[in-house]
Symmetry: C2
Subunit: 464 residues, 2 copies
C-alpha cells in the first residue's frame, strides 16, 4: 500500500527486524520437511543469540525449545513475530501480535494479493498501520544479517559479512544472491525479502540502511514500485551508493510480476529509467551486473576521472576489456596520453615483447614482482584515476601470488582513494584468487566485461 514518504516509526522499528532480541515463530512445525520447522532450525543453526519462541497450538516443544500455543501465552517481550501459517489464519495472528506489543511483524505466508486476495491484504495492512506495527511481506522468504548470525526464514544459508545491503522483492533471487555470496564472497551487511511489500516499503529500508554502520552500498531488486515518490526521496537523502535492478518491464513480465508479488506495472519500462535516475541510483540490466556493480560500490571508492589503466598478463583479457569500455561509452586512453612518464616507467615491468599501450600487456611470463611493480607505479601516478588488473593463468603464473601482491599494493595505497579492480579469468585457482581479493577489499571478477561494468558504475557513482 502506498505511502507518501518513509515513515519514521517504521524506520525506527526496523532495527527489531534485523537485530531482534527475541523472535516468535508462528507456525513452527515439529516436522523437519515443513517450512515452519526450517525457520527455527536455521535460526538455531546459524547461531542466533536471542530468544526463540516457537508458536504451535499442538506442540509442547519444537526442536528442543518450549513451544507456545498462541502468541498471547508468551511471557517475555517479543521483538519480532515471524508468521508462517496459512493465509486465512494470518489476521488473527496479527491481532495477537498487536496485543502483545510486538515491535515488528514478518509475514512469510503467500496467497494474498498475488492470487486476487488484495482485500484481505489491505485489511491486515491497514490494521497494522493503525497500530504502528510494521509488517514486512507478506509472501516473502525471510531476512537476516551475517554480522548478527541471524538467519530468519526459509533460507539455507547466510551470506558472508560485507558491505552490501540486499533488499529484494523476490525471495528466489534473494536466495540466489545469498548463495553467490557464500560461494563467491560477495559480502553483505544485511538482507531482506520484501515480497508483496504490503506495508513496509523500499524507502524505509533505504533509510534504515543509511544508518546501518556495516552497509556501504544498497542493492535493490524491484518488481513493482507502489510509492515512487517515497523511494526517490529516500534514495536522494542517502549518502550511500545504490544499485537497482527493476524487472517486469516486458509485456509478459508485467503479468508475471503481478502473479509473483502482486506488483503492478502500469508504466512503461522507461518510466523506471527516469525514476532510478532521479533517485541518483544506478540501474543494472542483468542479474549478474546487479551483483557485480553492488560489490564494486560496496568495496571501492568512486572513480573520479576517466583515466583508467589496465594492466594484464594476457592480451585477450585486455582486448575484451577495452572493447567493452568503448561499448559503454567510456573508452580507454593510451597510456602515453594519460601519463607519458608512467608509459616509460612501466617498461621496467615487462619483457621486450610486452606492450605499454593500455591495456598494458606485461605478458604471459609476468612474475609477482613485475605485477607488484606495475600496479604500484600505476596507482601512485597522479594522472591515473583507477586501475584494472587482470590475471590470466598461464603455466608460469602464480595466480594467488599476484592476488596477494594486489592486496598488499591496495593496503599500501588505500589513502589514494582510487578504485583498484581485478579480473581473474580461468579455473579453480582464479575462483580462489577472486575470493581472496574480495576478502581483502578488492572487487574482483571472473570475466573482463564484468569488471568493466563495475568500473563504469564507479564512474557513474562519482558523477551523481
Amino acid at each position: 500500500m502506498r505511502i507518501e514518504e518513509a515513515r519514521s516509526y517504521v524506520v525506527e522499528k526496523l532495527k527489531y527486524a534485523l537485530n531482534p532480541r527475541s523472535i516468535a515463530v508462528v507456525g513452527a512445525s515439529r516436522y523437519p520437511a515443513k517450512v515452519g520447522n526450517k525457520v527455527v532450525y536455521e535460526l538455531q543453526k546459524w547461531g542466533y543469540k536471542g530468544t526463540i519462541y516457537p508458536v504451535n497450538p499442538r506442540a509442547e516443544t519444537v526442536l528442543g525449545l518450549k513451544a507456545y500455543h498462541t502468541l498471547r501465552d508468551i511471557e517475555g517481550e517479543v521483538d519480532l513475530v515471524f508468521v508462517a501459517v496459512p493465509a486465512h489464519l494470518v489476521f488473527s495472528i496479527v491481532r495477537d501480535a498487536v496485543h502483545i506489543k510486538a515491535k515488528v511483524l514478518v509475514v512469510a505466508t503467500s496467497a494474498f494479493k498475488e492470487i486476487g486476495r488484495g482485500d484481505l491484504q489491505n485489511e491486515i495492512t491497514s490494521y497494522c498501520r493503525k497500530h504502528e506495527l510494521p509488517l514486512i511481506g507478506p509472501n516473502l522468504v525471510g531476512l537476516g544479517s551475517p554480522y548478527e548470525h541471524f538467519n530468519c526464514g526459509f533460507i539455507p544459508y547466510l551470506p558472508v559479512p560485507g558491505p552490501v545491503a540486499m533488499i529484494s522483492q523476490s525471495g528466489a533471487n534473494l536466495l540466489a544472491a545469498l548463495g553467490t555470496s557464500q560461494e563467491d564472497h560477495l559480502g553483505m551487511s544485511f538482507f531482506v525479502g520484501l515480497g508483496n511489500k504490503a506495508d513496509v516499503d523500499f524507502s524505509e529500508f533505504v533509510e534504515y540502511a543509511e544508518k546501518d554502520p556495516h552497509t556501504k552500498c544498497l542493492a535493490i531488486y524491484i518488481e513493482g514500485l507502489d510509492s515512487p515518490e517515497a523511494f526517490v526521496k529516500a534514495c536522494r537523502k542517502a549518502s550511500k551508493p545504490i544499485v537497482v535492478i527493476k524487472v517486469g518491464g516486458s509485456a509478459i513480465g508485467a503479468k508475471a510480476a503481478f502473479a509473483h508479488t502482486a506488483s503492478e506495472n502500469p508504466e512503461a519500462d522507461t518510466y523506471y529509467d527516469d525514476i532510478i535516475k532521479e533517485a541518483g541510483a544506478i540501474r543494472a540490466g542483468t542479474w549478474q551486473e546487479f551483483l557485480d556493480v553492488s560489490l564494486a560500490l560496496g568495496l571501492e571508492p568512486p572513480l573520479r576521472g576517466d583515466n583508467v589503466v589496465l594492466i594484464t598478463n594476457g592480451g585477450g583479457a585486455g582486448l575484451l576489456s577495452c572493447d567493452h569500455f568503448e561499448r559503454l561509452g567510456m573508452p580507454l586512453s593510451e597510456l602515453k596520453d594519460i601519463s607519458p612518464l608512467l608509459a616509460q616507467k612501466i617498461r621496467a615491468y615487462m619483457p621486450m615483447f610486452g606492450s605499454p599501450l593500455n591495456p598494458v600487456d606485461i605478458s604471459g611470463t609476468a612474475s609477482v614482482i613485475q605485477y607488484r611493480g606495475a600496479f604500484q607505479q600505476a596507482l601512485r601516478d597522479p594522472k591515473v584515476d583507477g586501475l584494472l588488473g587482470a590475471i590470466c593463468p598461464t603455466a608460469v603464473t602464480d595466480v594467488l601470488g599476484v592476488a596477494r601482491a594486489a592486496a598488499e599494493v591496495r593496503a599500501a595505497t588505500k589513502g589514494l582513494n582510487k578504485p583498484f579492480l581485478m579480473i581473474c579469468q580461468g579455473g579453480a585457482e582464479c575462483r580462489e584468487a577472486i575470493r581472496y581479493l574480495r576478502d581483502h577489499g578488492i572487487a574482483a571478477y571472473p570475466t573482463a566485461e564484468q569488471a568493466v561494468n563495475a568500473m563504469v558504475a564507479l564512474r557513474k557513482a562519482s558523477s551523481d
Copy 2:
C-alpha cells in the same frame, strides 16, 4: 598471411597437430621455471601416449627423457615440432623441421610481427608454405585435446571432454576457457591457440573440426581476419554450428590487437557483423556469452520455433528470464496461448498459489516429483518447442534431486529433439547441480540471462 581458401594439405595434416604420434619439443629446458620445461612436463602430466623428444643443445636428459641436441639428431619420425626458443633461432629450427619431414609445426615463440618483425614472420611462413609444412602460430600458448590426454603448450590444465572445439587467437583467453571448462564442466573436443596465425588460418581449423567426430560446435575467438573469404567459405560449408567472438572493434582495441597478435583491423566493427552473418555463424558480444552459447550449441539441438516454456520454483528467475527474452526480440508467449491443454495439466504440479502463466511458477515449495511432472508434460506437449527450467534453492529445495530428475526427463525425451536448458541460481549446491546437468548433456547456467542468451542462440542456429 592471406590465403584464398582453406588448403587441403593443411587441413589434412592438422590431425598431426591434434593427435600426433610423436612430438619434438625444441627449447625443452631442464629448469622447471622455464616455459620450455613446462611443455614437456604438461605432456607427461596429462598422460600423452606418444613419444616425446626434448630438443636442447646443452642437455642429455629433460624430465627423465633422452634429450637431442638438434631436431636432426632424432632417429624416429616426428609428427609435431613444438618450438619454444627465442625468435632469432626459429628459422633454423624450421629448416630442420622441413629436413626431418615433420608433419606440422607449432611455434610458441613471441616477438615477431606483433613487435614489428613482420618480415621475418613472412619469410618463415613463405618457407613453410613452399615446403607444405603447416605452421601454427607463432606467438601462441599451445593446443590439445582431452580425448587424447594431449596438453601441448604452456597450459596448466586440460578441459573436460565434450562437444566444443575452441579455436582462439588469444592464448590467455584460451587458458581462461580451459580453466572454466575444468571448473564448470564446459566440455571440449579440442582446443588450439592460433596466435599470429601467420600460416594456418581459422578456415583450416573449421574444416578440420567439421571432420572431427567429437566436435559438435565450434567456438572461435578472433582478433583479426586476414582471409575473410576463406573463413566465410569454410564456415558456410560446415554443418556444425559456429559461435564467434570478434574483439578489437574499439579504437584502442584495434591497436591492442596489433600489439597482441599482430592482428590488423582496418575495417569498422560492423564489417565483422556482416562477415559473421554471411558465414552463417552466431556472434557473441561478451566472453561469458561466447562460452554460454558454445555450450548450448554443443549440447542442445536447435530451437525450431518460438514456443519456449519456462518452469521455475522462483518467480524472480522467471521475471529476469522473460524480460531478457523480450530484450533479445523473442518474447515468451503465455502458456494458454502456446497450449491450453498444457496450461491446465501443469496445474497438477504446483500449489494453488503457483502461477501457470509462463514463466510457470511451481513455487518455492516445489518437490522433485512436481518438477519431474511439469518438465515431462511440457517437453512432451507437441506445441512446445523448447523448455527452460529454473531451480532456486529455497530451504526445502532438493537442488541435486531436481537436477537428477531433469537428466532423467532429458534421457527419456531425447528423441523429441527439443532444447532443454536449465537455470540454477545460487551457491555451492547450484554449482554442483550445473556440473551434474552439463555432464548429463543439459546446458545449465548460473543466471537467468545467460540461459536466455543460449536459448535465443539455439533459435538462431535453427533459422540459419
